[in-house]
């Protein structure tokens, strides 16, 4: 609403003439219900108008990069889950693709399709949490309960396959950790068939709802130039008019075989970011339907290269060579040829990339995560300048940050 109004203009029109020009500093967080974790924002205010919003981060700094240098490549995979913990599998994907590229490993096509399916499941789960919590910040409680109810079904599918609800580390270098469980196709199809109906119920709650639209329209505007200059990626960039989606423009995992649209809007405000994500959820379901049809019930789920991938259980019990491979992989890991690699994938929040430098050993020499939320959060001061305090909360919501991803 107050977007674009400069405080100096207000002073000149005499609106504030009787007030002092001193600004106030307000501290938001790190323990605050609307900052989605431990984000702290230092707000410089003139009355209700935000002069500057400065995010102060690091309250969840975990030292992933340092820890990973002491782990083998396979062990470091488990760390990636815990960065963007709402969508662990897209982090896994970026990491394993990077290592596979450096090692030149061919992964069976079936495994790549399963990766696509689970990446999209993760994206959907992440967007559901975003939708629920964001709309709750706007004052509507019930959407969160619907979103969490459907997210439980996604978690069930992941639990059934990988054994845990969150942080599954299901993707491994060379393929997948296990094959799909019995009955997965039916369960997944049931979920996919049901989703359009649930999606419609969220839309019924938010679409055209003046309480929500008035809070979003024209708020937190970010121009195309600013978005690019500040290294924003993902839905934020696409809502500002840049049609960049790595799944489409720089495909990996055979994404080019799938039919889907990339939702792009040009307004760059919170409303556009909101609807880009909503439309993305529908596209994800579209991709998953195609992926599920492409996945054969039986087939290879990991490479047969025993230098990186564990042999099946049955082989270990009867075959000496398999036992040696198992022992070597578990105790020492595998060596990665000397070199460097960067691989980015389109996570729910933007470009999730890994830059890995190997010195030829079994542990990474440098393990760098390019996390989308870290870069995206940089756009917040630009988005909120001249807005109201309440708009800051909206901006945090539509940037869709996960603090584990920001602070890594």
């Amino acid at each position: 609403m107050a977007q674009g109004v400069k405080t100096d203009d207000l002073f000149e029109t005499g609106l504030h003439s009787s007030l002092s020009r001193e600004s106030m500093v307000l501290n938001l967080g790190p323990q605050h219900p609307a900052t989605h974790g431990v984000l702290r924002v230092r707000l410089t205010l003139d009355g209700e108008t935000v002069l500057h919003a400065e995010p102060v981060i690091g309250y969840l700094h975990t030292g992933f990069e340092k820890t990973a240098e002491t782990h083998t490549y396979q062990q470091a995979n488990t760390l990636t889950d815990r960065m963007d913990y709402l969508s662990p599998l897209t982090n896994n994907l970026a990491y394993v693709l990077a290592v596979e590229k450096l090692m030149g490993i061919e992964v069976p096509k079936r495994a790549q399709y399963i990766r696509v399916l689970f990446s999209e499941l993760s994206r959907l789960g992440s967007h559901l949490v975003w939708l629920g919590t964001h709309v709750m910040d706007l004052g509507a409680m019930s959407v969160l309960f619907y979103c969490l109810r459907e997210r439980e079904l996604i978690l069930d599918l992941i639990e059934q396959t990988a054994g845990v609800r969150m942080n599954p580390s299901y993707f491994r270098v060379g393929g997948l950790a296990y094959d799909l469980p019995e009955g997965f196709h039916e369960n997944c199809q049931r979920f996919l068939d049901g989703f359009p109906k649930w999606m419609q119920s969220y839309k019924n709650l938010v679409q055209g709802n003046p309480l929500i639209e008035d809070r979003l329209k024209g708020v937190g505007r970010l121009s195309k130039e600013d978005a690019l200059a500040l290294s924003a990626t993902g839905p934020i960039l696409r809502a500002s008019g840049v049609p960049m989606d790595l799944r489409k423009s720089d495909p990996y995992c055979f994404y080019d075989e799938f039919e889907f649209d990339v939702p792009v809007r040009t307004g760059g405000d919170s409303f556009d970011r909101f609807w880009v994500r909503m439309e993305e959820m529908e596209q994800s379901v579209r991709i998953m339907n195609q992926a599920l049809a492409k996945i054969d019930p039986v087939g290879a789920y990991t490479t047969t290269d025993r230098k990186v991938s564990l042999p099946p259980r049955e082989e270990i019990y009867g075959n000496m060579e398999a036992l040696i491979h198992q022992f070597k992989l578990v105790s020492g890991g595998f060596n990665v040829p000397k070199g460097e690699v960067y691989q980015g994938v389109e996570g729910p929040k933007g470009e999730m990339g890994f830059y890995i430098v190997s010195d030829g050993g079994a542990r990474p020499y440098r393990w760098r995560a390019r996390t989308p939320s870290f870069y995206n959060l940089q756009t917040m001061p630009t988005m909120t300048r001249g807005g109201l305090v309440a708009d800051v909360i909206v901006a945090i919501g539509t940037i869709d940050i996960v603090l584990g991803d920001v602070d890594k």
């Binding site: 981060i57 690091g58 700094h61 030292g63 990069e65 340092k66 820890t67 240098e69 002491t70 590229k101 450096l102 030149g104 690019l228 200059a229 500040l230 290294s231 924003a232 990626t233 960039l237 840049v242 960049m244 423009s249 720089d250 040829p337 070199g339 460097e340 690699v341 960067y342 691989q343 980015g344 470009e351 990339g353 830059y355 430098v357 020499y365 440098r366 760098r368 390019r370 870290f374 870069y375 959060l377 940089q378 602070d407």
Partner: protein
């Protein structure tokens, strides 16, 4: 496995800065290495003429005990053609790197992060503060001579 040593981006860079760049073969994207004195000119050219309008990442690698110790790594992307290029530079301990914040304001946080975790100081921008660790923290954790467990005594 094929290594990338030729690409239109590399040709354009080589034509603009003849003889002063080193092409590094890499598996994933065109990579060049440039001394830090010409980093800003190179980056400006990449953005203005090659359309590399998105700075994907800024980071460093500590090659302790080698000298020069720090290798700075910049990943650039042209969002229209999806061409990528990796630019590398280097600096010694206690040397300053030129900041690319004037070209991409988005370099602000990653440069602060590089300062915080590696102790590489950037010049040509405002004072660089720590971003992750508390202001009074001693040492730079991602350096190779920094213990994983930090100053903790168990």
């Amino acid at each position: 496995m094929t290594l990338i040593t030729q690409a239109p981006v590399l040709d354009a860079l080589e034509a603009r800065f003849p003889g002063s760049l080193e092409v590094v073969p890499a598996v994933d994207q065109p990579t060049v290495k440039a001394p830090k004195e010409m980093l800003l000119a190179l980056m400006d050219f990449a953005k203005q003429s090659l359309g590399m309008s998105l700075l994907v990442d800024v980071t460093a690698v500590d090659w302790f005990p080698a000298r020069p110790r720090f290798e700075l790594v910049y990943h650039l992307l042209n969002p229209d053609t999806m061409e990528r290029v990796r630019v590398k530079s280097w600096c010694h301990l206690n040397e300053e790197m030129p900041s690319v914040m004037g070209i991409w304001p988005g370099a602000d946080w990653p440069e602060r992060e590089t300062y915080d975790l590696f102790g590489v100081v950037f010049s040509g921008r405002g004072e660089v503060h720590r971003i992750y660790m508390p202001e009074d923290w001693e040492g730079h954790p991602l350096r190779k001579d920094y213990p994983v467990a930090g100053p903790r005594v168990d």
